[in-house]
Amino acid sequence: GDSVTQTEGLVTLTEGLPVMLNCTYQTIYSNPFLFWYVQHLNESPRLLLKSFTDNKRTEHQGFHATLHKSSSSFHLQKSSAQLSDSALYYCALSPGTQVVGQLTFGRGTRLQVYA
């Protein structure tokens, strides 16, 4: 079946440094949709950004990611971390239109930003 791999369980950063959270995936479907969800402490997950298009950068709230089908990757980046970015980040995959609606989530990466 589909799988999503987030290699870092915990990333710790000093405020102002760049953020990069890794996400790779495996799927048999040729046009997967990729998502990043963010979950702040004591809250529920919410969509941060999504991509349906190969090699196109998508941005939201200062974060950006580019879907690269050639390397099956969808890494999340931000140029300068803020204390408020501290949260749990999930990468997720949908097979696309062939299997409507289902998401496979990675195990999550906790980002902790320090002053």
Binding site: G1, Q6, G9, F33, F35, E43, S44, P45, R46, L47, K50, F52, Y90, A92, S94, V100, G101, Q102, L103, T104, F105, G106, R107, G108
Partner: protein
């Protein structure tokens, strides 16, 4: 914005007891989902539904049943609760299509099975 509510928000159950977790959404989404969240495992899909009367098995359905009596309501049922089912459970709804595919999550239910 989609509104998804869950009840109860916290539940303590005894081993072998029956537990029902309820979810309601007011955005008229066709699809609804039940996940459990555990440290080190992330969010794992238990059951999902494409509409009233439909339930489908997700990735980890063993020990769980689901019921979708209406468009708005989707329940998760633990007939014989076990301590391994102690977790945080999230319900979500969504209407995939177009450029959406976003899932909207409820606030979660923290279940402890003693």
């Amino acid at each position: 914005e989609a509104a998804v509510t869950q009840s109860p928000r916290n539940k303590v159950a005894v081993t072998g007891g029956k537990v029902t977790l309820s979810c309601n959404q007011t955005n008229n989404h066709n699809n609804m989902y039940w996940y459990r969240q555990d440290t080190g495992h992330g969010l794992r899909l238990i059951h999902y539904s494409y509409g009233a009367g439909s339930t489908e098995k997700g990735d980890i359905p063993d020990g769980y049943k689901a019921s979708r009596p209406s468009q708005e309501n989707f329940s998760l049922i633990l007939e014989l609760a076990t301590p391994s089912q102690t977790s945080v459970y999230f319900c979500a709804s969504g209407d995939p299509g177009g450029d959406s595919y976003e899932q909207y999550f409820g606030p979660g239910t923290r279940l402890t099975v003693l």
